[in-house]
Symmetry: C2
Subunit: 211 residues, 2 copies
Amino acid sequence: MENSNPIAVFTIKRLSIYLRSLLQLKNEGKHYVSSIEIAELNGFTSAQVRKDLSVFGNFGVKGKGYNIDNLITGLNRILGLNKKISVSLFGLGRLGEALLENKGFQRQGFEFVAIFDIDRTKIGRKFNNIVVHHPDELPQIASKLKIDIAIVTVPNENAKKTLQSIVEARIRGIFNFTDARIQLPEGFYMQNVNLAGELETISYFISQKNK
Amino acid sequence: MENSNPIAVFTIKRLSIYLRSLLQLKNEGKHYVSSIEIAELNGFTSAQVRKDLSVFGNFGVKGKGYNIDNLITGLNRILGLNKKISVSLFGLGRLGEALLENKGFQRQGFEFVAIFDIDRTKIGRKFNNIVVHHPDELPQIASKLKIDIAIVTVPNENAKKTLQSIVEARIRGIFNFTDARIQLPEGFYMQNVNLAGELETISYFISQKNK
DNA sequence: AGTTGTGAATCTGTTCACAGCC
DNA sequence: GGCTGTGAACAGATTCACAACT
Protein backbone atom coordinates (compact mmCIF):
# COMPACT_ATOMS: atom_id res chain seq x y z
CA MET A 1 0.00 0.00 0.00
CA GLU A 2 2.72 2.37 1.01
CA ASN A 3 4.19 2.67 -2.44
CA SER A 4 1.32 3.22 -4.83
CA ASN A 5 1.18 6.66 -6.41
CA PRO A 6 2.64 9.84 -4.95
CA ILE A 7 1.03 10.77 -1.66
CA ALA A 8 -0.46 14.24 -1.46
CA VAL A 9 1.27 16.88 0.64
CA PHE A 10 -2.12 17.64 2.19
CA THR A 11 -2.38 14.09 3.46
CA ILE A 12 1.04 14.21 5.08
CA LYS A 13 0.32 17.51 6.81
CA ARG A 14 -2.80 16.04 8.28
CA LEU A 15 -0.94 12.94 9.48
CA SER A 16 1.28 15.17 11.52
CA ILE A 17 -1.79 16.87 12.99
CA TYR A 18 -3.30 13.49 13.84
CA LEU A 19 -0.04 12.49 15.46
CA ARG A 20 -0.15 15.52 17.73
CA SER A 21 -3.71 14.69 18.80
CA LEU A 22 -2.74 11.09 19.48
CA LEU A 23 0.15 12.09 21.71
CA GLN A 24 -2.26 14.28 23.61
CA LEU A 25 -4.81 11.47 23.97
CA LYS A 26 -2.15 9.00 25.08
CA ASN A 27 -1.14 11.53 27.69
CA GLU A 28 -4.72 11.55 28.92
CA GLY A 29 -4.50 7.80 29.40
CA LYS A 30 -6.71 6.74 26.47
CA HIS A 31 -5.95 3.57 24.50
CA TYR A 32 -8.36 3.62 21.59
CA VAL A 33 -9.73 6.44 19.49
CA SER A 34 -12.20 6.59 16.61
CA SER A 35 -11.79 8.49 13.36
CA ILE A 36 -14.75 10.56 14.53
CA GLU A 37 -12.92 11.77 17.63
CA ILE A 38 -9.71 12.56 15.75
CA ALA A 39 -11.76 14.46 13.21
CA GLU A 40 -13.64 16.50 15.80
CA LEU A 41 -10.47 17.46 17.61
CA ASN A 42 -9.08 19.02 14.47
CA GLY A 43 -12.04 20.15 12.44
CA PHE A 44 -11.85 17.47 9.75
CA THR A 45 -14.40 14.86 8.66
CA SER A 46 -14.09 11.29 9.90
CA ALA A 47 -14.01 10.00 6.32
CA GLN A 48 -10.99 12.18 5.69
CA VAL A 49 -9.18 10.73 8.68
CA ARG A 50 -9.97 7.17 7.65
CA LYS A 51 -8.95 7.73 4.06
CA ASP A 52 -5.68 9.38 5.06
CA LEU A 53 -4.76 6.52 7.36
CA SER A 54 -5.90 3.82 4.96
CA VAL A 55 -3.34 5.00 2.41
CA PHE A 56 -0.62 3.56 4.60
CA GLY A 57 -2.24 0.35 5.75
CA ASN A 58 -4.96 -1.01 7.97
CA PHE A 59 -4.36 0.60 11.31
CA GLY A 60 -7.89 0.38 12.60
CA VAL A 61 -10.07 -2.27 14.15
CA LYS A 62 -13.62 -2.32 12.82
CA GLY A 63 -16.17 -1.50 15.44
CA LYS A 64 -13.47 -0.37 17.83
CA GLY A 65 -11.30 2.35 16.35
CA TYR A 66 -7.56 2.82 16.35
CA ASN A 67 -5.13 1.61 19.00
CA ILE A 68 -3.39 4.81 19.99
CA ASP A 69 0.05 3.34 20.67
CA ASN A 70 0.08 1.43 17.41
CA LEU A 71 -1.01 4.43 15.45
CA ILE A 72 1.60 6.67 17.05
CA THR A 73 4.30 4.17 16.18
CA GLY A 74 2.96 3.86 12.65
CA LEU A 75 2.76 7.57 12.03
CA ASN A 76 6.23 8.15 13.44
CA ARG A 77 7.60 5.53 11.09
CA ILE A 78 5.72 6.95 8.09
CA LEU A 79 6.90 10.47 8.80
CA GLY A 80 10.47 9.27 9.24
CA LEU A 81 10.52 10.37 12.87
CA ASN A 82 11.76 7.05 14.17
CA LYS A 83 15.31 8.06 13.24
CA LYS A 84 17.20 11.15 14.40
CA ILE A 85 16.90 13.92 11.84
CA SER A 86 19.77 16.38 11.56
CA VAL A 87 18.81 19.99 10.99
CA SER A 88 20.95 22.99 10.11
CA LEU A 89 20.08 26.65 10.37
CA PHE A 90 21.05 29.26 7.79
CA GLY A 91 20.71 32.78 9.14
CA LEU A 92 20.96 33.33 12.87
CA GLY A 93 18.68 36.33 13.17
CA ARG A 94 15.75 36.71 15.51
CA LEU A 95 13.66 34.19 13.66
CA GLY A 96 16.53 31.73 13.43
CA GLU A 97 17.12 31.92 17.16
CA ALA A 98 13.43 31.41 17.83
CA LEU A 99 13.40 28.29 15.69
CA LEU A 100 16.57 26.94 17.30
CA GLU A 101 14.78 27.00 20.62
CA ASN A 102 11.39 25.88 19.35
CA LYS A 103 10.00 23.25 21.73
CA GLY A 104 7.96 21.59 19.01
CA PHE A 105 11.06 20.73 17.02
CA GLN A 106 12.83 19.21 20.00
CA ARG A 107 9.81 17.13 20.96
CA GLN A 108 10.13 15.09 17.77
CA GLY A 109 13.43 13.60 16.63
CA PHE A 110 14.84 16.84 15.21
CA GLU A 111 18.31 17.81 16.27
CA PHE A 112 20.21 20.93 15.25
CA VAL A 113 23.75 20.07 14.23
CA ALA A 114 25.00 23.16 12.41
CA ILE A 115 24.45 26.91 12.22
CA PHE A 116 25.58 29.23 9.43
CA ASP A 117 25.71 33.02 9.39
CA ILE A 118 27.86 35.61 7.62
CA ASP A 119 28.07 37.92 10.65
CA ARG A 120 31.71 37.88 11.81
CA THR A 121 30.66 38.68 15.38
CA LYS A 122 28.65 35.45 15.49
CA ILE A 123 31.03 33.09 13.69
CA GLY A 124 32.93 30.89 16.13
CA ARG A 125 30.50 31.58 18.95
CA LYS A 126 28.19 28.87 20.21
CA PHE A 127 24.39 28.93 20.25
CA ASN A 128 22.64 26.13 22.11
CA ASN A 129 26.03 24.46 22.14
CA ILE A 130 26.38 24.56 18.35
CA VAL A 131 29.22 26.52 16.75
CA VAL A 132 28.30 29.14 14.16
CA HIS A 133 30.14 28.78 10.84
CA HIS A 134 30.52 30.92 7.75
CA PRO A 135 28.41 29.49 4.88
CA ASP A 136 31.60 29.09 2.84
CA GLU A 137 32.41 26.17 5.09
CA LEU A 138 29.18 24.37 4.22
CA PRO A 139 30.75 21.94 1.69
CA GLN A 140 33.33 20.63 4.17
CA ILE A 141 30.87 20.47 7.05
CA ALA A 142 28.19 18.77 4.99
CA SER A 143 30.67 16.14 3.85
CA LYS A 144 31.53 15.28 7.47
CA LEU A 145 28.12 15.68 9.10
CA LYS A 146 25.05 14.09 7.57
CA ILE A 147 22.58 17.02 7.35
CA ASP A 148 19.00 16.14 6.43
CA ILE A 149 17.22 19.47 6.56
CA ALA A 150 18.21 23.13 6.15
CA ILE A 151 16.09 25.86 7.71
CA VAL A 152 16.65 29.12 5.85
CA THR A 153 15.99 32.47 7.51
CA VAL A 154 18.63 34.62 5.78
CA PRO A 155 17.71 38.08 4.41
CA ASN A 156 16.10 37.98 0.95
CA GLU A 157 19.18 39.50 -0.67
CA ASN A 158 21.30 36.45 0.12
CA ALA A 159 18.53 33.92 -0.11
CA LYS A 160 18.87 32.58 -3.63
CA LYS A 161 22.61 32.01 -3.26
CA THR A 162 22.05 30.29 0.07
CA LEU A 163 19.40 27.98 -1.36
CA GLN A 164 21.67 27.06 -4.24
CA SER A 165 24.56 26.21 -1.96
CA ILE A 166 22.26 24.04 0.13
CA VAL A 167 21.23 22.07 -2.94
CA GLU A 168 24.88 21.73 -3.98
CA ALA A 169 25.64 20.34 -0.54
CA ARG A 170 22.97 17.68 -1.22
CA ILE A 171 20.80 18.68 1.74
CA ARG A 172 17.52 17.35 0.43
CA GLY A 173 14.99 18.94 2.75
CA ILE A 174 14.61 22.73 2.86
CA PHE A 175 12.39 24.80 5.13
CA ASN A 176 12.42 28.19 3.46
CA PHE A 177 11.26 31.39 5.16
CA THR A 178 12.66 33.68 2.45
CA ASP A 179 10.99 35.05 -0.67
CA ALA A 180 13.49 33.32 -2.98
CA ARG A 181 12.39 30.33 -5.05
CA ILE A 182 14.59 27.91 -6.95
CA GLN A 183 14.12 24.85 -9.10
CA LEU A 184 14.92 21.69 -7.17
CA PRO A 185 16.49 18.46 -8.43
CA GLU A 186 14.52 15.21 -8.14
CA GLY A 187 14.44 13.84 -4.61
CA PHE A 188 14.63 17.25 -2.92
CA TYR A 189 11.73 18.84 -1.11
CA MET A 190 11.24 22.50 -0.14
CA GLN A 191 8.56 23.82 2.14
CA ASN A 192 8.07 27.57 1.84
CA VAL A 193 6.56 29.69 4.58
CA ASN A 194 5.64 33.21 3.62
CA LEU A 195 4.84 35.03 6.84
CA ALA A 196 4.02 38.39 5.28
CA GLY A 197 1.83 36.61 2.76
CA GLU A 198 -0.13 34.90 5.52
CA LEU A 199 -0.76 38.24 7.20
CA GLU A 200 -1.89 39.71 3.89
CA THR A 201 -4.28 36.83 3.43
CA ILE A 202 -5.75 37.51 6.86
CA SER A 203 -5.99 41.17 5.91
CA TYR A 204 -7.99 40.25 2.82
CA PHE A 205 -10.51 38.12 4.66
CA ILE A 206 -11.17 40.59 7.44
CA SER A 207 -11.41 43.50 5.00
CA GLN A 208 -14.11 41.64 3.07
CA LYS A 209 -16.46 41.50 6.01
CA ASN A 210 -16.20 45.20 6.76
CA LYS A 211 -18.94 46.14 4.36
CA MET B 1 -16.97 40.89 -10.30
CA GLU B 2 -15.52 41.35 -6.87
CA ASN B 3 -18.55 40.00 -5.05
CA SER B 4 -19.50 36.76 -6.74
CA ASN B 5 -18.92 33.62 -4.70
CA PRO B 6 -16.36 33.17 -1.96
CA ILE B 7 -12.81 33.57 -3.20
CA ALA B 8 -10.47 30.68 -2.56
CA VAL B 9 -7.75 31.08 0.05
CA PHE B 10 -5.31 29.71 -2.52
CA THR B 11 -6.11 32.55 -4.87
CA ILE B 12 -5.49 35.18 -2.21
CA LYS B 13 -2.18 33.64 -1.20
CA ARG B 14 -1.05 33.78 -4.79
CA LEU B 15 -2.15 37.40 -5.13
CA SER B 16 0.21 38.28 -2.34
CA ILE B 17 3.01 36.41 -4.12
CA TYR B 18 2.24 38.26 -7.36
CA LEU B 19 2.30 41.52 -5.45
CA ARG B 20 5.78 40.78 -4.16
CA SER B 21 7.01 40.07 -7.69
CA LEU B 22 5.44 43.25 -8.98
CA LEU B 23 7.14 45.39 -6.36
CA GLN B 24 10.40 43.77 -7.38
CA LEU B 25 9.76 44.44 -11.08
CA LYS B 26 8.76 48.05 -10.42
CA ASN B 27 12.01 48.42 -8.54
CA GLU B 28 13.84 47.22 -11.63
CA GLY B 29 12.18 50.01 -13.60
CA LYS B 30 9.72 47.89 -15.59
CA HIS B 31 6.27 49.22 -16.46
CA TYR B 32 4.45 46.28 -18.02
CA VAL B 33 4.53 42.59 -17.32
CA SER B 34 2.80 39.59 -18.88
CA SER B 35 1.07 36.76 -17.06
CA ILE B 36 3.80 34.54 -18.50
CA GLU B 37 6.55 36.46 -16.74
CA ILE B 38 4.72 36.57 -13.41
CA ALA B 39 4.12 32.84 -13.72
CA GLU B 40 7.74 32.00 -14.47
CA LEU B 41 9.03 34.08 -11.58
CA ASN B 42 6.98 32.03 -9.14
CA GLY B 43 6.57 28.63 -10.70
CA PHE B 44 2.91 28.93 -11.67
CA THR B 45 1.20 28.65 -15.05
CA SER B 46 0.25 31.79 -16.94
CA ALA B 47 -3.37 30.66 -17.08
CA GLN B 48 -3.40 30.50 -13.31
CA VAL B 49 -2.13 34.05 -13.04
CA ARG B 50 -4.70 35.35 -15.52
CA LYS B 51 -7.55 33.49 -13.87
CA ASP B 52 -6.60 34.72 -10.41
CA LEU B 53 -6.44 38.32 -11.55
CA SER B 54 -9.59 38.10 -13.65
CA VAL B 55 -11.61 37.25 -10.54
CA PHE B 56 -11.17 40.84 -9.40
CA GLY B 57 -11.60 42.69 -12.65
CA ASN B 58 -9.92 43.39 -15.95
CA PHE B 59 -6.48 44.55 -15.00
CA GLY B 60 -4.75 43.57 -18.21
CA VAL B 61 -4.40 45.03 -21.67
CA LYS B 62 -4.74 42.45 -24.43
CA GLY B 63 -1.58 42.04 -26.45
CA LYS B 64 0.38 44.08 -23.94
CA GLY B 65 0.13 42.63 -20.44
CA TYR B 66 -0.46 44.29 -17.09
CA ASN B 67 0.52 47.81 -16.12
CA ILE B 68 2.65 47.23 -13.06
CA ASP B 69 1.67 50.36 -11.14
CA ASN B 70 -2.03 49.75 -11.74
CA LEU B 71 -1.79 46.16 -10.70
CA ILE B 72 0.14 47.00 -7.53
CA THR B 73 -2.52 49.53 -6.59
CA GLY B 74 -5.27 47.07 -7.40
CA LEU B 75 -3.75 44.22 -5.41
CA ASN B 76 -3.06 46.46 -2.45
CA ARG B 77 -6.68 47.53 -2.44
CA ILE B 78 -7.98 43.96 -2.80
CA LEU B 79 -5.78 42.71 0.04
CA GLY B 80 -6.87 45.61 2.23
CA LEU B 81 -3.33 46.97 2.40
CA ASN B 82 -4.31 50.49 1.41
CA LYS B 83 -5.32 51.18 5.01
CA LYS B 84 -3.19 50.84 8.13
CA ILE B 85 -3.77 47.48 9.76
CA SER B 86 -3.37 47.24 13.51
CA VAL B 87 -1.72 44.12 14.82
CA SER B 88 -1.35 42.83 18.36
CA LEU B 89 0.99 40.17 19.67
CA PHE B 90 0.04 37.55 22.25
CA GLY B 91 3.09 35.89 23.75
CA LEU B 92 6.36 37.77 23.79
CA GLY B 93 8.70 34.80 23.55
CA ARG B 94 11.50 34.33 21.04
CA LEU B 95 9.12 33.81 18.17
CA GLY B 96 6.98 36.76 19.19
CA GLU B 97 10.00 39.04 19.29
CA ALA B 98 11.13 37.80 15.90
CA LEU B 99 7.73 38.58 14.39
CA LEU B 100 7.61 42.03 16.04
CA GLU B 101 10.78 42.91 14.17
CA ASN B 102 9.93 41.11 10.94
CA LYS B 103 10.80 43.38 8.03
CA GLY B 104 8.19 41.88 5.76
CA PHE B 105 5.38 42.94 8.09
CA GLN B 106 6.62 46.51 8.31
CA ARG B 107 7.00 46.82 4.54
CA GLN B 108 3.24 46.51 4.09
CA GLY B 109 0.75 48.53 6.11
CA PHE B 110 0.99 46.43 9.24
CA GLU B 111 1.57 48.21 12.52
CA PHE B 112 1.93 46.65 15.93
CA VAL B 113 -0.17 48.47 18.49
CA ALA B 114 -0.32 46.13 21.49
CA ILE B 115 1.63 43.32 23.15
CA PHE B 116 0.30 40.87 25.73
CA ASP B 117 2.24 38.49 27.95
CA ILE B 118 1.67 36.95 31.39
CA ASP B 119 5.31 37.30 32.47
CA ARG B 120 5.39 39.90 35.27
CA THR B 121 8.97 40.82 34.40
CA LYS B 122 7.84 41.90 30.94
CA ILE B 123 4.56 43.65 31.81
CA GLY B 124 4.95 47.42 31.83
CA ARG B 125 8.18 47.29 29.84
CA LYS B 126 8.33 48.53 26.28
CA PHE B 127 9.28 46.50 23.21
CA ASN B 128 9.73 48.40 19.97
CA ASN B 129 8.07 51.28 21.79
CA ILE B 130 4.96 49.28 22.65
CA VAL B 131 4.03 48.62 26.26
CA VAL B 132 3.50 45.00 27.31
CA HIS B 133 0.17 44.33 29.05
CA HIS B 134 -1.33 41.43 30.93
CA PRO B 135 -3.92 39.64 28.78
CA ASP B 136 -6.55 40.43 31.42
CA GLU B 137 -6.42 43.99 30.17
CA LEU B 138 -7.35 42.95 26.64
CA PRO B 139 -11.05 43.92 26.89
CA GLN B 140 -10.30 47.50 27.97
CA ILE B 141 -7.46 47.92 25.49
CA ALA B 142 -9.44 46.45 22.62
CA SER B 143 -12.32 48.80 23.31
CA LYS B 144 -10.02 51.84 23.08
CA LEU B 145 -7.67 50.71 20.29
CA LYS B 146 -9.05 49.24 17.10
CA ILE B 147 -7.12 45.95 16.73
CA ASP B 148 -7.52 44.13 13.43
CA ILE B 149 -5.25 41.12 13.80
CA ALA B 150 -3.88 39.07 16.71
CA ILE B 151 -0.68 37.09 16.29
CA VAL B 152 -0.61 34.25 18.81
CA THR B 153 2.67 32.69 19.93
CA VAL B 154 1.79 31.73 23.50
CA PRO B 155 2.68 28.25 24.86
CA ASN B 156 0.18 25.54 23.94
CA GLU B 157 -1.06 25.25 27.52
CA ASN B 158 -2.49 28.78 27.45
CA ALA B 159 -3.39 28.82 23.79
CA LYS B 160 -7.06 27.88 23.79
CA LYS B 161 -7.92 30.42 26.47
CA THR B 162 -5.97 33.09 24.63
CA LEU B 163 -7.75 32.37 21.35
CA GLN B 164 -11.13 32.54 23.06
CA SER B 165 -10.37 35.89 24.67
CA ILE B 166 -9.26 37.24 21.29
CA VAL B 167 -12.57 36.24 19.75
CA GLU B 168 -14.44 37.79 22.68
CA ALA B 169 -12.54 41.01 22.09
CA ARG B 170 -13.87 40.93 18.51
CA ILE B 171 -10.43 40.82 16.92
CA ARG B 172 -11.44 39.20 13.65
CA GLY B 173 -8.11 38.17 12.17
CA ILE B 174 -5.95 35.60 13.96
CA PHE B 175 -2.49 34.38 13.00
CA ASN B 176 -2.08 31.29 15.14
CA PHE B 177 1.26 29.58 15.75
CA THR B 178 -0.07 27.33 18.52
CA ASP B 179 -1.53 23.82 18.32
CA ALA B 180 -4.89 24.97 19.70
CA ARG B 181 -7.91 25.12 17.38
CA ILE B 182 -11.24 26.78 18.08
CA GLN B 183 -14.52 27.29 16.28
CA LEU B 184 -14.77 30.82 14.92
CA PRO B 185 -17.88 32.99 14.55
CA GLU B 186 -18.89 34.20 11.11
CA GLY B 187 -16.70 37.01 9.82
CA PHE B 188 -13.58 35.87 11.67
CA TYR B 189 -10.57 34.35 9.94
CA MET B 190 -7.75 32.31 11.45
CA GLN B 191 -4.57 31.32 9.71
CA ASN B 192 -2.72 28.48 11.43
CA VAL B 193 0.99 27.90 11.01
CA ASN B 194 2.25 24.59 12.35
CA LEU B 195 6.03 24.82 12.29
CA ALA B 196 6.71 21.35 13.71
CA GLY B 197 4.21 19.93 11.24
CA GLU B 198 6.02 21.53 8.32
CA LEU B 199 9.29 19.99 9.46
CA GLU B 200 7.61 16.61 9.79
CA THR B 201 6.26 16.94 6.28
CA ILE B 202 9.76 17.64 5.00
CA SER B 203 10.97 14.64 6.99
CA TYR B 204 8.40 12.44 5.25
CA PHE B 205 9.38 13.51 1.76
CA ILE B 206 13.10 13.13 2.23
CA SER B 207 12.67 9.77 3.98
CA GLN B 208 10.75 8.46 0.99
CA LYS B 209 13.62 8.91 -1.39
CA ASN B 210 16.10 7.08 0.80
CA LYS B 211 15.24 3.67 -0.52
C1' DA C 1 -24.09 -1.75 17.65
C1' DG C 2 -20.26 0.48 16.29
C1' DT C 3 -16.56 1.66 13.39
C1' DT C 4 -13.34 0.77 9.64
C1' DG C 5 -11.91 0.81 4.72
C1' DT C 6 -13.10 2.14 0.25
C1' DG C 7 -15.41 2.66 -4.47
C1' DA C 8 -18.41 6.04 -6.37
C1' DA C 9 -20.08 10.63 -6.43
C1' DT C 10 -19.21 15.20 -5.64
C1' DC C 11 -16.83 19.23 -5.08
C1' DT C 12 -12.82 22.33 -5.77
C1' DG C 13 -8.98 23.93 -8.10
C1' DT C 14 -6.05 23.99 -12.34
C1' DT C 15 -5.03 23.92 -17.13
C1' DC C 16 -6.39 24.07 -21.99
C1' DA C 17 -7.43 26.39 -25.86
C1' DC C 18 -9.22 29.97 -28.31
C1' DA C 19 -12.20 34.16 -29.35
C1' DG C 20 -11.53 38.86 -28.83
C1' DC C 21 -8.95 42.90 -28.47
C1' DC C 22 -4.84 45.97 -28.86
C1' DG D 1 1.53 39.10 -33.51
C1' DG D 2 0.96 38.95 -28.85
C1' DC D 3 -1.48 38.60 -24.76
C1' DT D 4 -5.75 38.77 -22.01
C1' DG D 5 -10.01 36.78 -20.22
C1' DT D 6 -12.80 32.83 -19.84
C1' DG D 7 -15.85 28.74 -20.82
C1' DA D 8 -14.96 23.97 -21.15
C1' DA D 9 -12.17 20.04 -20.04
C1' DC D 10 -9.42 17.99 -16.76
C1' DA D 11 -7.15 16.73 -12.46
C1' DG D 12 -7.08 16.42 -7.64
C1' DA D 13 -9.09 16.31 -3.17
C1' DT D 14 -13.06 15.49 -0.20
C1' DT D 15 -17.23 13.45 1.19
C1' DC D 16 -20.83 9.99 0.85
C1' DA D 17 -22.57 5.78 1.79
C1' DC D 18 -22.31 1.17 2.66
C1' DA D 19 -20.36 -3.66 2.77
C1' DA D 20 -17.38 -6.01 5.87
C1' DC D 21 -15.78 -6.98 10.17
C1' DT D 22 -15.51 -7.32 15.54
